[in-house]
Point group: C2
Chain length 409, copies 2
Amino acid sequence: MALIVQKYGGTSVGSTEKIKNVAGRVIEYCEKGDMLVVVLSAMAGQTDDLIRLSKEITETPDPRELDVLMATGEQITISLFATAVKSMGYDCCSLLGFQAAIHTDEIYGKARIRKIDTDRILKELDEDRIVAVAGFQGIDESGNITTLGRGGSDTTAVALAAALKANLCEIFTDVDGVFSADPNICTHAKKLEQISYEEMLELSSLGAKVLDIRSVEFAKKFNVPIHVRSSFTRNEGTMVVAENKEMEKVLVSGVVFDKNEARVTIVKVPDRPGIASKIFNPVFKAGIVVDMIIQNTSAEGITDLTFTVTKANFDETMKLVREVAKEIDAEKVLGDQNISKVSIIGLGMRNHAGVASKMFETLSKENINISMISTSEIKISCVIEEKYTELAVRALHEAFGLGDEKKQN
Amino acid sequence: MALIVQKYGGTSVGSTEKIKNVAGRVIEYCEKGDMLVVVLSAMAGQTDDLIRLSKEITETPDPRELDVLMATGEQITISLFATAVKSMGYDCCSLLGFQAAIHTDEIYGKARIRKIDTDRILKELDEDRIVAVAGFQGIDESGNITTLGRGGSDTTAVALAAALKANLCEIFTDVDGVFSADPNICTHAKKLEQISYEEMLELSSLGAKVLDIRSVEFAKKFNVPIHVRSSFTRNEGTMVVAENKEMEKVLVSGVVFDKNEARVTIVKVPDRPGIASKIFNPVFKAGIVVDMIIQNTSAEGITDLTFTVTKANFDETMKLVREVAKEIDAEKVLGDQNISKVSIIGLGMRNHAGVASKMFETLSKENINISMISTSEIKISCVIEEKYTELAVRALHEAFGLGDEKKQN
């Protein structure tokens, strides 16, 4: 008998019909004797409806009250799910963030989970109930409702699995698992049987939407095995687990891309102490997240500084940086939105030389120019012209032999 | 500086535009220096939407989970309202049932308020915030969400006013106040300036929709003055207050009717001890509320027994009663759904003879037959044929001189 925490995302519970399907699937586990804690997201579309309502009131809603509003989405899903389970003859109890005692800090809109008191959940499990927990929401020290931000339900599920010492955390989503590349681009992309927390962290931070990055951090910290799989099929998905011997044999696990970034270059920056913080302070203060930052070795006290931000933040960043550029006497600021970041990930890179050069060679063979490079222990990212994205992904996927041989035939 | 509890019903907050209007109106009070606790209902239509969702899952939803679902309606309203107030430059804090510490019993769907811990509300008021409280919902001893049933937001408001020792409880609704009769039927019906708790209790129990009966009971018990008024106009409404000398001068305050009842008659019932409980037990067990019960003095050990139930319960009641009738050897069971109950209310009746005879005479003059009569200290109800309802109301309104003279001119 295992204790399993499952999470179903918004598309998996996008209608009452789908909620009933999920209820049926959960009951199958119970029939095998497992104990189930089920974390649910808001029904697909509902979050957008709530945001629309809020925008009708004001474009700049109060963060505390926005969380009160957003939290209703998951509340609706868990009550409908529990109703469905009970109508099928199994006992079930829905719990909101405050009832499941999911304590967070006080940062509305992107709160972090501090601790979970599992008493109530354990009591309900003890009475043979399936426990349905509202994802994405918690409660702060003063009893205010908080939400964890986009992807927060993944974090709720993994945090619950950690707190409950569950045997497994299953994340049900609308894809079959984690793939060696986007199957829409590489037709013979392969579903990975397993992947390490470290690789998954890189994938999530590089724009793969499968798992929220905070949930992977949580899973890694508490060693919670995650099974990412589809709620629409019975196929096995991908296990996200601690690194093991077998994984290291694989040089590269996957290729990912992110078209959502834009590049800003400040040309001829006087290279003196404190200049970087002078440039980035106004950007950080505006709440803009900077991804890659590259500064070449200075020649004659003058350097170029390039960095990337999301396309949504591009205009604001250009405005802020142009002002700073004047102050510090830089020559000019260049911007480019037609870029894309293509990355390869793999634990095996650590112990194998030549992965980087193979990547550069492969792109070069296709006449794709690399404008920025950034590396970590298990990842190499190259910024290229956006129009070459698909070509680059396919070429790298092929070059590193990631394809599914069966699909290739 | 007064502490005022206000309640706005579903039609008053039926759109984001209306919510903004309510926010503006509440702020006017604050500008005069009052402290405001605002109880809000779900936006008109939302409750029905939630019920529809629930019915898509099952026709017989679990009561606990239904309350979790229904409670989201008010949660949405208070967050939007608080957002609106804050966007207008005033501070505001929304509180859900559990945050406002509205403790109820465990009867899902029609919980009763046991007590309210006012600490959190007082703290927010102390920090110069407008406090927006979700109507209709509370929390039971185990931390489960409960709802108070239809009209529950009125009860929330009055209970809060009592607990906070507020100076006034204002119930904003879509009518101008309490009228001497339905203005749709009596064009010169008069808005009452004031009415006693006792009269309001009778009105509410006789089908007037203005105030939920439990809220009036609460107000009477704790002597909370209620001001019923329109959220769409600036007109003064009706004060519901403790009985006073002036009220007793008025013989009859109003005429009301209820077309929602049906009559069941059991003909030739053997009149022996225990027979009434034998007849009504199955009806009560089925959760059916019986309104009027009339049994004539027995002649030769045989009597007729007549009672009324709501039309919705009519078919089930007839089925149950037919079974009992066989068991007890009654002759037959008759049913009639084409009935209506017309009532007159007035504190003055207590000390004036002849009110009843004037009512009977008035109906008789119009050739309206009375089939059942029931009286209390301050009310007389007559069951008549449904088609005569409007005629009866107008005739009684005229006979007791209830009209607004200005409107009559």
